[in-house]
Amino acid sequence: MNKTLRNPYVYLLFVVPTIGLYFLFFVYPVFQSVVYGVTDWDGLNPAKFVGLENFINAFKDADFTASIRNNMYFILFSIFIQVPLIITFSLLISGVKRFQGFYKTTVFMPSILSTSIIGILWQFMYHPSIGFFNKFLGWFGIEPIYWLSDPKWAMLSVLVTNAWQWMGFYIVLVLAAILAIPKEINEAAEIDGATGIQRAIKITTPLIMPIISVVVMLSIAGAMRVVDIVLVMTNGGPAGATEVMASYMVNKAIRFGQYGYGTALSIIIFAIALILTAIYQLVFARKSERVEY
């Protein structure tokens, strides 16, 4: 039998196609990125080695540093606005008996849709004349706001759309963790006279810290990857107000043919993501690692 399960030909048959594809479209591009990243290749002329010049230029490039700042807005918005809301709504859903399934299904719904469709949908919510927000403000006599074309508002508008799309996903994640907490703990507290809100704050929330830590991690990773929503809604505009690192990189490479510079940017994006994840792991995640019931 060991012989059957050691058949090297079958092993190769099972492993080689996967490894081949994975290598060609995944591993090889990574190495290529590093190679292009230190050249000035523009897709036409032969590439010239420029060392770390691209990387140095990137940090002098005011448009790129502005886009880093916009990625940070995504992170800050998720941690300080979305996460508290996510916890609140998960607690609320876990507390109700009726309609629990309905709430769960509905809040999750936006996360199954494509970001480009959501971008189109929300562009009309923000539409200066027919959009919901301006109609609503109009009832109070407030002048129309050009949400997506006013640099003051554009970033916030994109952030809200992004939150609308993804909050439900995280709520369902946290909800599952809350529902997995043994009932006895809450029952004991209730007998001791703790109110619903006290139990939510003092018992449930500490017990779900590990999953919240995961949510924060995923939010950071998601914020570093964000690009579709920006390309669809504003394409980085107005005047770079919503440009994120990835959209800037993509436009530099494809529109302007600066492949060398673009890949250097992609390596920087990857490095920043790694550093942020590492910092988060070291500073926060360790503390809330273990929960025992």
Partner: protein, 276 residues
């Protein structure tokens, strides 16, 4: 009173959230039946005064939604199917076949892929498909979709296959079943729950993918739904009802599917949350 209050407040807050989620859909749906921009501008939240399905016929024709839809459907399905077969075979080799040392190396090698965000690969993949001569064809999406799905899929299926007890497989092999037979007839059927999860994650990921399909495909008739709809929006900017109709048509099938498979989809996607 306090009791009703206590029970009512959570529902009230949750209902507000539900309305925020559903509102854009209702707005779009109502507006898609209106026949002119004016009808929307005058009463954006009102019911259409007469329902017109003309928009639907027009959008279906003008936007080539049927083409985009078909492209998206067959591309995401075929890439998901191929990825799951490749991943399952590799997972079987790693988890069940007795070449431990090689398997470990293969596993670690594939694991690295989980660390690399797909955006980082974008430019090199663009150059790669250009060099391979497949830029602008569906192959330029098919291969990255399959390859991109592999690391995560292998990981999840390996974990599942390792947990399957070996008695049944051993008995079958003693009775003369070959290794491919054991894979196809014993381990694969037992792994269906993991395969379903992985399949859904990959299918939805492919269906919604925007970045690659936006930049790798330039011919209109090869576009997928997400990029096709954005192009449609750009070319019919001034005809709101038509754009709304396009959005409704492209969202509807997913929502119907979600209605039937919500449990599986929610479980699958949250299980794949790590992949994003």
């Amino acid at each position: 009173m306090p009791k009703i209050f206590k029970k009512g407040v959570p529902h009230l807050l949750l209902m507000i959230y539900v309305i925020i989620i559903l509102f854009p859909f209702v707005f779009i749906l109502f507006s898609s039946f209106k026949y002119s921009n004016d009808a929307i501008v005058n009463a954006p939240f009102g019911l259409p005064d007469r329902i017109s399905f003309e928009n639907y016929a027009e959008a279906w024709k003008k936007a080539k939604i049927s083409t985009y839809f078909f492209n998206s459907a067959y591309l995401s399905l075929s890439a998901a199917v191929v990825a799951i077969f490749l991943a399952a075979a590799t997972a079987y080799a790693i988890a069940r076949m007795r070449l431990k040392r090689i398997s470990n190396a293969v596993y670690q090698f594939i694991l690295i892929g989980m660390l690399i965000p797909s955006n980082v690969l974008f430019i090199s993949q663009y150059i790669l498909v250009k060099d391979l001569g497949i830029l602008g064809t569906h192959w330029s999406l098919f291969f990255p979709y399959v390859a991109g799905a592999l690391p995560f899929s292998v990981l999840l299926i390996v974990a599942f296959m390792k947990a399957i007890p070996s008695e049944m497989e051993e008995a079958a092999i003693v009775d003369g079943l070959g290794v491919i037979g054991s894979f196809l007839r014993i381990i694969l059927p037992l792994s269906v729950p993991a395969l379903v999860t992985v399949f859904i994650i990959n299918l939805m990921g492919n269906w919604n993918e925007y970045l690659l399909s936006n930049f790798f495909i330039s011919k209109d008739y090869l576009r997928t739904l997400p990029t096709g709809m954005v192009g449609f929006r750009d070319s019919f900017k001034m005809n709101y009802p038509l754009v709304f109709t396009g959005v409704v048509i492209s969202v509807l099938p997913i929502l119907v599917l979600y209605g039937f498979l919500q449990r599986t989809i929610i479980e699958g996607l949250t299980a794949g949350g790590v992949k994003g």
